[in-house]
């Protein structure tokens, strides 16, 4: 809010305090962005379309984690476990009961909400690193249950799921998937933005690091924490369900601890405490390995290092994360805001204060 604005813009109604697109520049900018997003699948090839879909899927999970970690300040390392819970709920319901997507999706959400309560309970007593470790334990429990199901039912390589079907129409085309995922991601972002500009979102931001004060102001800290866990887990499990349908395949191996780290990286690299940050982080982390690969090809290192491509990827990823933590703790959003401020104030210079 203390971001500079062009002069001559004054608010005259309270409603302008919470408008998402307040000025004409913002509205035009968003319209352009929306037009590009809608036009993208008609220009992108299969490979790029798949990457775009991955970004959209990741952005749902990243926004969910941002609500919990970036806003409410609750560290969770159980994110991959929650995605797995959503995916396995879908897989199991499909395999055992041939349930259609309009059953599996709400079921995944319900399982996510229930797990949110369970993941959230330790947060009432534990903080910081201890909380992280307890959520990590739950991650392993979910993964264990998933792989038990796989081996007991003889799906040792994973559970194969048919694409969602509505009447005679099945969702298989990557372009159709793109629009479905775009709608899901948009709904998630809008829902999250709405929460953040009302009572619950403020309570989450209040308990972030100042629980005692929040309590003294009449906020039930327990309630706020649990609601953050429940909302975040529900959204994550829904993302897991979509992931299962998109890949058509559920396997415990897909939900490793590295996936959790990737999501944590998305919210940190994107910039904690910002929905836009979650989106930028999702784009960055999903594109990163492709970028590394392209860079290696371009520098002709690919031939010599082809056997090491995964190792190079991990190393570069870790390095980038450290660089962000040290040099740009506000993440990509911090950079974005500086660029915005620079253009708004040009030809003057601004030195950011505080914040």
């Amino acid at each position: 809010m203390s971001q500079p604005r062009s002069s001559g813009y004054l608010r005259t109604r309270y409603a302008q305090d919470w408008m998402l697109l307040e000025t004409r520049t913002q509205r035009v900018g968003f319209a352009l962005f929306a037009a590009c997003a809608l036009a993208l699948p008609f220009f992108a090839g299969a490979f790029h379309l798949d990457i775009a879909n991955q970004v959209l899927l990741a952005s749902i999970g990243a926004v969910a984690l941002m609500l919990l970690t970036g806003y409410a300040g609750q560290i969770s390392l159980g994110h991959a476990g929650l995605l797995a819970a959503g995916a396995f709920t879908t897989g199991i319901l499909f395999k055992e009961f041939a349930a259609p997507f309009w059953v599996t999706l709400p079921a995944a959400a319900a399982v996510g909400a229930a797990l949110g309560v369970i993941f959230g309970l330790p947060s009432l007593r534990l903080r910081g690193l201890y909380l992280a470790v307890s959520t990590l334990a739950l991650h392993f429990i979910v993964i264990y249950l998933g792989s038990e199901y796989e081996s007991k039912r003889g799906f040792s390589t994973g559970v194969v799921i048919d694409p969602p079907r509505l009447g005679s129409w099945t969702l298989t085309d990557a372009r159709a998937w793109y629009f479905v995922l775009l709608a899901a991601a948009t709904a998630t972002v809008l829902f999250s933005l709405n929460l953040m500009r009302s009572r619950t979102g403020r309570a989450w931001r209040a308990i972030h690091g100042r629980e005692t004060v929040a309590g003294a102001l009449g906020i039930s800290v327990q309630r706020a924490k649990l609601s953050a866990f429940v909302v975040s887990s529900t959204l994550t499990a829904v993302a897991g369900c979509l992931f299962a349908y998109y890949r058509g395949f559920v396997s415990a191996e897909a939900f490793s601890l590295f996936l959790t780290i990737q999501y944590v990286a998305m919210v940190i690299i994107g910039g904690l405490g910002s929905i836009l940050g979650a989106l930028l982080g999702a784009v960055f982390v999903v594109l990163f390995p492709y970028g590394i690969e392209a860079a290696m090809k371009a520098t002709a290192l690919a031939d010599r290092l082809s056997s090491l491509i995964f190792a190079v990827n991990y190393a570069a990823f870790g390095l980038v994360m450290i660089l962000f933590l040290v040099f740009e703790p506000k993440g990509l959003v911090g950079i974005w805001q500086r660029v915005q401020a620079w253009f708004l104030l040009w030809p003057f210079k601004q030195k950011p204060v505080g914040k």
Partner: protein, 258 residues
């Protein structure tokens, strides 16, 4: 009868350290009650006991018909007890308006699903509370900072924001923990003006922990003096400040060199 906050024989110990011993007092309508005492006397501990952050070992704290002694902090504050903190303790990453809106949390009745869709009723309720916040900003002269992030404001302004945040709860009793600490002379005068306006225009009783004896002597209606957790004097400022035990507690006793 107006609800009075009443402490009866409150004692608090941390292990072997006796922090409060048999503290008893009561607020009176529209009265400015000042808690004073040397560092470590237990003034802030009294506020923490009232707010439910500490649990007294014995004694009772009541507010009207409610027993606060074992109540959760957020329930206590919802009864109408608002406090400020010695070091501000503001939400630095929120704007001034948002900080004050947080204080109205318990008064906003929207549910999380409606909020997710930002329905018309949510928007209407937000506007009502936004207006209430604006009135507090007007009362405390903070309008020009309303959309600033609190972390970027000077310390003196932050303290006033903390004060405004307590006021935004529309409390029945205000607990002020050293509101003047770290403020310069101008800012103290502003603060004194706000405190007097609350007393005279809103009639809210205040329990005020203070170190600035000049402010205490000028503003307080009644003093309650603690030393090492024990009450040593109470009464009107002009009498209490002359009391030899109070002078001793602050300045020590005269000893003759042998």
């Amino acid at each position: 009868m107006a609800d009075n906050l009443k402490l009866e024989g409150v004692s608090l110990a941390f292990g072997g350290l006796q922090v409060l011993q048999d503290v008893s007092f009561e607020t009176r309508k529209g009265e400015l009650l000042c808690l004073i005492g040397p560092n470590g006397a237990g003034k802030t501990s009294i506020l923490n006991c009232i707010c439910g952050l500490y649990r007294p070992g014995s004694g009772r704290i009541t507010f009207g018909a409610n027993d606060l002694t074992r109540m959760a902090p957020h329930r206590i504050s919802r009864l109408g007890l608002a406090r400020t903190f010695q070091h501000g303790e503001l939400f630095a990453h929120l704007t001034v308006v948002e900080n004050l809106l947080v204080a109205r949390h318990a008064r906003i009745g929207t549910n999380i699903v409606a909020e997710g869709f930002f329905t018309r009723s949510v928007r209407e309720e937000e506007a009502v509370h936004r207006k209430a916040v604006e009135e507090v900003l007007d009362f405390t002269d903070l309008e020009r900072y309303r959309h600033e992030h609190v972390g970027a404001l000077p310390f003196g302004i932050q303290k006033i924001v903390g004060f405004a945040r307590a006021l935004a709860m529309q409390p029945k009793v205000m607990l002020l923990d050293e509101p003047s600490a770290g403020l310069n002379r101008d800012e103290r005068e502003d603060l004194a003006r706000h405190i007097l306006r609350i007393k005279h225009e809103l009639g809210i009783p205040m329990i005020w922990v203070e170190h600035d004896m000049q402010m205490v002597a000028d503003l307080a209606d009644r003093l309650y003096v603690l030393d090492h957790g024990e009450p040593i004097a109470q009464g009107r400022p002009e009498e209490v400040l002359k009391d030899h035990r109070v002078v001793e507690a602050y300045l020590g006793t005269r000893t003759t060199m042998a």
